[in-house]
């Protein structure tokens, strides 16, 4: 019957539409965290790290270097240790830049769109060959990720701003998105 087919088609379209909207909605908070300066400053596409909420180029001629850990003779570890220091220099275990493959900018200073970010996150050739489950694990255990929620005081003595979701909320949102099949917005 035509009206039955139309109804079914309508239902199908509605389901697709709402799941698209859901996909948008479920990834959106994750994107807001990942593109926050505390994350994006090291997931930069430039050959230098960024600093601060204004995301300026890292001072003191600091560069990415060949292994994302600084130029020879000017390594990240020369100044950054395993913990935030009282003088405002931040620290966490294994302080370094994210490899270029994990850069979340479309161009210097411009974050990827939510759709592009989502795809990049899931791209195993770029995310350190991680499955979705391993990705979740990484976000939960990696010290540098944890740092975003305990970033310490900056050189002016002000506590650095953390991403818009609390750490637990973020991890929950990620798991929920994972459970929903990790849909990417279009």
């Amino acid at each position: 019957m035509t009206w039955q087919i139309s109804l079914r088609a309508l239902l199908l379209v509605t389901m697709i539409y709402s799941s698209l909207a859901d996909a948008q909605a479920s990834f959106e908070p994750i994107a807001r965290v990942l593109t926050h300066p505390r994350c994006l400053n090291c997931h930069t596409v430039t050959n230098y790290p960024r600093q601060g909420d204004d995301r300026h180029a890292h001072l003191f001629l600091v560069a990415r270097g060949l292994d994302d850990r600084g130029a020879v003779g000017n390594r990240c570890g020369e100044c950054h240790q395993g913990l935030n220091q009282g003088n405002g220099v931040p620290g966490a275990s294994n302080w370094r830049l994210a490899p270029l493959g994990m850069a979340w900018e479309s161009q210097p200073g411009v974050a990827l769109s939510d759709a592009a970010l989502c795809r990049r996150l899931l791209d195993q050739s770029r995310n350190g060959n991680r499955s979705l489950g391993q990705l979740a694990q990484h976000l939960e255990t990696e010290a540098l990720v944890r740092w975003a929620w305990a970033p310490g005081k900056n050189l002016d003595g002000k506590v650095r701003e953390s991403p818009p979701l609390g750490r637990e909320q973020f991890l929950q949102a990620f798991r929920a998105w994972q459970a929903a099949g990790a849909p990417c917005p279009r």
């Binding site: 001072l59 003191f60 001629l61 600091v62 560069a63 130029a71 020879v72 003779g73 000017n74 390594r75 570890g77 020369e78 100044c79 950054h80 240790q81 395993g82 913990l83 220091q85 009282g86 003088n87 405002g88 220099v89 050189l155």
Partner: protein, 151 residues
């Protein structure tokens, strides 16, 4: 108590764990060759080697030094015989001299990784601040030590 080796000698210190290594070296251990210039890892005057790698000791809590090997400018050689020290003297690099301990330690770390650095590598590696502006001779001295000329 925190214990670590400095210039081959074992030390035990009883200080607040967040005391910067710089100040432990200078005050508890009396090694004043490493200098204080800014306290925020911006100038490099405090550069030492920890486990062979250059570290700005003003931003390195002493608690993190537990069990590690530290080398300061005093330990680079017994008698100014490190190729960089000889080159520094041959090229007459220092002026006021205050930044030079850190500068030499940074250069030593560079040469340990890259025995013959290019000018670009020297520029990227040596970001120590020298207010007297000895950079021109620092470069010459590093090249001299690297190629072993006159050492």
């Amino acid at each position: 108590m925190i214990s670590f080796t400095v210039n081959g000698k074992l030390h035990e210190v009883d200080v607040e764990p967040d005391t910067p290594l710089l100040w432990v070296l200078r005050e508890q251990l009396g090694l004043t060759g490493t200098k204080f210039g800014c306290g925020i890892a911006a100038c490099g005057a405090c550069t030492v080697h920890v486990g062979g790698s250059a570290v700005r000791s003003c931003s390195f809590a002493v608690s993190a030094a537990q069990g590690l090997d530290i080398t300061t400018i005093e330990g680079l050689s017994a008698d100014r015989s490190h190729p960089l020290q000889k080159a520094w003297i041959a090229e007459q690099v220092p002026q006021c001299g205050y930044c030079q301990s850190g500068m030499i330690m940074a250069a030593a770390a560079l040469l340990a990784s890259v025995p013959e650095p290019s000018d670009e590598q020297i520029g990227q590696a040596i970001t120590n601040i020298c207010r007297c502006g000895t950079y021109y001779r620092v470069k010459r001295a590093i090249r001299r030590a690297a190629t072993g000329v006159g050492s």
